[in-house]
């Protein structure tokens, strides 16, 4: 599983609660490897509280003295950056970044997140192959650390799942012949009730067909509709008898 290759590296995180929330965000998306560079407080009760069931990631977290040590074994390194820097570093959005990352051959892959207030220093960016930017509202780019980790982890999961991430219950449309019997039945009833002019049924029937075709009813739904039509017919014939 390629998510196994990912290392999330947090540099000098000030608030231990953010470390815990980041661990939780990672685990919800199937990431397991957290590395911390000079965390201000770690371990810490706030980190454990915010991890909320993802404390196994905290227990296994590796703590380093410097970024080069933390990424020493990594074959590709992307640095998360909230700012769009005008110079030097190639920058890709989160989606593009994770694709590039996962396309790199064997070995661990790092995504590096900087300090809550000041992000990554230029010296740290020198260790990154490119910058990863989560496109945010330019008027309010206040994406906090754990939220950024959540979005990037989500993109990593989406990239490994590929298309069709969700197995939607597949409707099993009724066969065309069943639908035709239904349309015939519907037309009969519509004529019988006087709703449809039998001399010119085309336009209205076409509208009905369009609508039901869009709904792609399954066999059970066709049965329900036909049962309804039959009950209308019964009503009709009992009304005829009463006359």
């Amino acid at each position: 599983m390629s998510l196994e290759r990912i290392r999330v590296v947090l540099i000098e995180t000030s608030h231990p609660g953010n470390i815990g929330a980041a661990a939780r965000a990672m685990k919800t998306m199937g990431l397991g490897h957290l590395r911390l560079v000079r965390p201000r407080y770690f371990p810490h009760a706030d980190a454990t509280a915010m991890a909320s069931g993802a404390d196994d990631l905290l227990t296994r977290a590796e703590v380093y003295d410097s970024l080069p040590e933390a990424i020493g074994d990594c074959v590709a390194v992307a640095g998360a950056s909230a700012r769009l820097r005008t110079h030097h570093w190639p920058t890709y959005d989160a989606r593009d970044s994770v694709r590039r990352l996962l396309a790199v051959g064997d070995g661990p892959l790092a995504v590096v997140f900087g300090r809550e207030r000041t992000g990554l220093s230029n010296e740290e960016l020198d260790h990154c192959q490119w910058l990863l930017n989560v496109p945010a509202n330019p008027d309010y780019a206040s994406l906090n650390l754990a939220m950024a980790v959540q979005v990037v982890s989500y993109e990593l999961r989406m990239a490994t799942l590929g298309e069709g991430a969700v197995d939607s219950p597949q409707p099993e449309p009724a066969p065309a012949a069943e639908l035709e019997r239904f349309y015939a039945h519907l037309e009969t009833v519509m004529v019988a009730t006087g709703f449809l002019n039998p001399d010119n049924p085309r336009h209205l029937m076409r509208r009905m067909r369009l609508m039901f075709n869009r709904a792609t009813p399954d066999q059970n739904e066709v049965n329900i509709l036909r049962g309804l039509l039959t009950s209308v017919e019964r009503l009709q014939s009992s009304a005829d008898e009463d006359r």
Copy 2:
């Protein structure tokens, strides 16, 4: 701007801090319209604290007594669901869902989020055209409310930005002729230093070309490299003089 059309609807949120964090998550991605159905506590100091600069969304938030009222003006409604239900409701992942949502013609569009613990009831799902699922780790699908709002808001923003969300500083590669002069210069110096066998330079030069071509150096970088080569030549000739 199509993000203007989006209404985020939170149903019976228990913790006001989650309302604030959701507002912040929305605003970072450029969403502005929050609707609350029977919030347990609202307004509340925790909501304002967690909104952290997105309190304008809280001030403008609309509070409703029921989901049908909250979505009354909406032309499409997607219901966020953590569980993958086996029956009835068509389900699309967050990315697919937001595309479908934004493809619906004029009018407000709703994404509905249920209670922190129990999500949306079946009666509430009856008001949704489809379910939106954020694909999560099946062993730990503990995506909290604000994190789910963050991911969906992010997908909405990405869908409206389209490709090329990030304006990466474009490298301006040096013209091929400049690169050729550099390669010639490099070969000369490599031969002069004795590193390259002049009778069979091909293989090593090809490797050098491959590497520098991957780097697509710009004119400034080519100038630096050639300056370096020139300084090596000077060293070489002074060494020759010393002999």
